[in-house]
């Protein structure tokens, strides 16, 4: 599970947003959409921790990650050159259950990362699906990353329809047997509420600050409906939205 991944290439796909390709056969052969990897950006003691990244795609022995430069770790990652070797472990956590009819995929912002991989697999499985992808505005949209035929939403209407992904989802919910969603927490909250109201099963992919990624540090917990906590890295990152205590988030 622990190996060294060679950086094949990375490229900018949007503002401060990169796609990085890594050769990591051990991850590539096992990864399912929704699962993640821990990637350590070199052997530094500062930053000391590895970073969790959703698997964004798999091609042969290569995996693709999609990330936004937001802090020290991702700034360093953006400067990593082809040929570099980075410690990696995974795939980790629970992925999406893709065995559903007519799923609706909902991605907001960088939530596109695992949703794009789910779409790739659904295509391979020949499962028809609908996909909604939203961002704040046209410049934040990663249209070259999203799939053909996806419904595009922007907050300001600068591309696609004006509005939130939940509006597009509302139109599709009556016909849907299941929803797969990933995006910012307020979006996931709204999507989860919508799905609960319509009694449509909803799987959300969550993120949380985490140290180990393997269930040991207990750092990445979120509240569940039984009054306790679940670990995003083990019981998630993909979890049934009905198990999350959204009111506490």
């Amino acid at each position: 599970l622990y190996q060294t991944a060679e950086v094949i290439a990375q490229r900018a796909v949007g503002p401060n947003t990169n796609q990085i390709r890594l050769e990591a056969r051990g991850v590539a052969i096992k990864a399912r959409p929704g699962q993640f990897v821990m990637l350590k950006i070199g052997e530094t003691q500062d930053p000391i921790l590895a970073r969790p990244f959703s698997v964004h795609g798999v091609h042969g022995d290569e995996i693709v990650l999609l990330y936004k430069v937001v802090g020290k770790g991702t700034r360093l990652l953006a400067r990593v050159e082809s040929g570099a070797n980075l410690p990696i472990w995974g795939p980790l956590g629970r992925g999406f259950d893709l065995d559903i009819e007519q799923p609706v995929l909902v991605a907001g912002g960088l939530g596109l990362a695992p949703i794009r991989f789910a779409a790739q697999r659904l295509k391979e499985l020949r499962t028809p699906f609908a996909a909604v992808y939203g961002a704040r505005n046209n410049s934040e949209l990663l249209l070259n990353v999203a799939g053909q035929g996806w419904e595009i939403m922007t907050d300001d209407g600068s591309k696609g329809r004006k509005g939130l992904v939940t509006e597009a989802l509302a139109e599709r919910l009556p016909l849907s047997r299941g929803v797969l969603a990933c995006g910012p927490l307020p979006m996931l909250k709204a999507v989860a509420r919508q799905c609960l109201e319509h009694q449509v099963p909803c799987q959300v992919s969550l993120e949380a600050p985490m140290a180990c990624g393997i269930g040991a540090c207990l750092g990445c917990v979120m509240p569940d409906t039984s009054g306790g906590y679940f670990r995003v890295c083990q019981e998630g990152p993909v979890i049934d939205a009905a198990q999350v205590d959204w009111d506490q988030l």
């Binding site: 622990y2 000391i48 472990w89 985490m210 180990c212 393997i214 540090c217 750092g219 917990v221 906590y229």
Partner: protein, 317 residues
């Protein structure tokens, strides 16, 4: 001399370990989490997540945050409790060849006593480690660890309830660790583990809020290694029981430094998060260091610091 010819086994606190590198409590789950990443039987031992009498949910999130050269945690001693530990964790741990040390967390002498008694007939438990130092919980932990009399009482209580070796894990959040260490030694402690995390906090300046829901958390990682080395050095010279050194050990060289400071063995904590193979890698690196230095037995490092004061002009020896 090859690496394999270095004698890596050590005797510490009533145990014989195949090498001096153990996994530290709270960073290694119940061991099983790390079994996909290494052969646990090749590390000196592991110390479990702190076990309390009743299950604990722990603190609300956010519980962890990275800091310069380290991290803060405020997990709040979330654990399954003694009953589930015995039913669900112990059977698997008992099959391991490596030494299993169970870390105990109690909020009263009675709880410590009940925990020690509850583990007494578990053959798979090699030793008990008492958490008298975890700074994350508002009541309990800190109160025991900062007061020599309380530390002595807890140690005596557990020694009376258990025939197993008892290690006492000391907090660095005290003025004089030697005073606490002597109290634990006098009360019958078989070894001292030190140091636990340093109390700290992180702030989000944009939100104007503490990052951790608990406000305070325990600082660990390379940032605290100099503090750990200093305290191990101080205490190991003042007491005649073994000290197990921890605090920011990331490499075999770090482990060697702790042993030179006076530690008979070491524990690896935060490094388990940044590389799940750390314990085994560090044990191998430590063997490699001994080879390079022409050291045939790793225990020769213990307290081997060459710290004789240098001559000063004008002072007659």
């Amino acid at each position: 001399m090859t690496t394999s010819s270095v004698q890596m086994s050590v005797k510490v606190g009533g145990l014989e370990l195949c090498n001096p590198v153990l996994a530290a409590s709270g960073t290694f789950g119940y061991g099983r989490e790390f079994s996909p990443y290494m052969d646990l039987n090749r590390i000196g031992g592991l110390v479990t997540k702190g076990v309390s009498l009743k299950p604990r949910l722990g603190n609300p999130p956010q519980r962890v945050v990275e800091t310069a050269g380290g991290m803060l945690n405020a997990i709040g001693l979330a654990n399954v409790g003694l009953k589930d530990f015995l039913a669900d964790k112990m059977p698997w741990l008992s099959k391991l060849g490596t030494k299993v040390v169970v870390n105990l967390y109690g909020e009263s002498l009675e709880e410590f006593s009940a925990l020690a008694s509850g583990l007494e007939d578990q053959a798979g438990v090699a030793a008990l480690e008492l958490n008298v130092s975890c700074p994350n919980v508002k009541e309990g932990g800190l109160a025991f660890g900062v007061n020599p009399d309380s530390v002595a009482e807890v140690t005596r209580t557990v020694k009376a309830a258990s025939g197993k070796p008892v290690w006492v894990k000391l907090t660095p959040n005290v003025t004089d660790p030697v005073l606490i260490a002597k109290a634990a030694r006098d009360a019958g402690a078989d070894a001292l583990s030190m140091i636990n995390t340093l109390l700290g906090m992180a702030i989000d300046p944009v939100e104007k809020k503490p990052v951790l829901a608990n406000v305070f958390g325990g600082l660990s990682g390379p940032a605290i290694k100099p503090v750990g080395l200093r305290m191990v050095y101080q205490v190991s010279r003042a007491v005649d029981i073994p000290v197990i050194g921890l605090g920011g050990i990331m490499t075999g060289r770090d482990a060697a430094e702790y042993m030179l400071a006076g530690a008979s063995a070491v524990q690896v904590g935060t490094a388990n998060f940044s590389d799940p193979t750390s314990c085994l890698r560090i044990a191998e690196e430590l063997a490699g260091f001994c080879t390079e230095q022409g050291i045939s037995r790793v225990s020769q490092l213990v307290g081997g610091l060459d710290d004789k004061p240098l001559p000063v002009c004008g002072v007659k020896e």
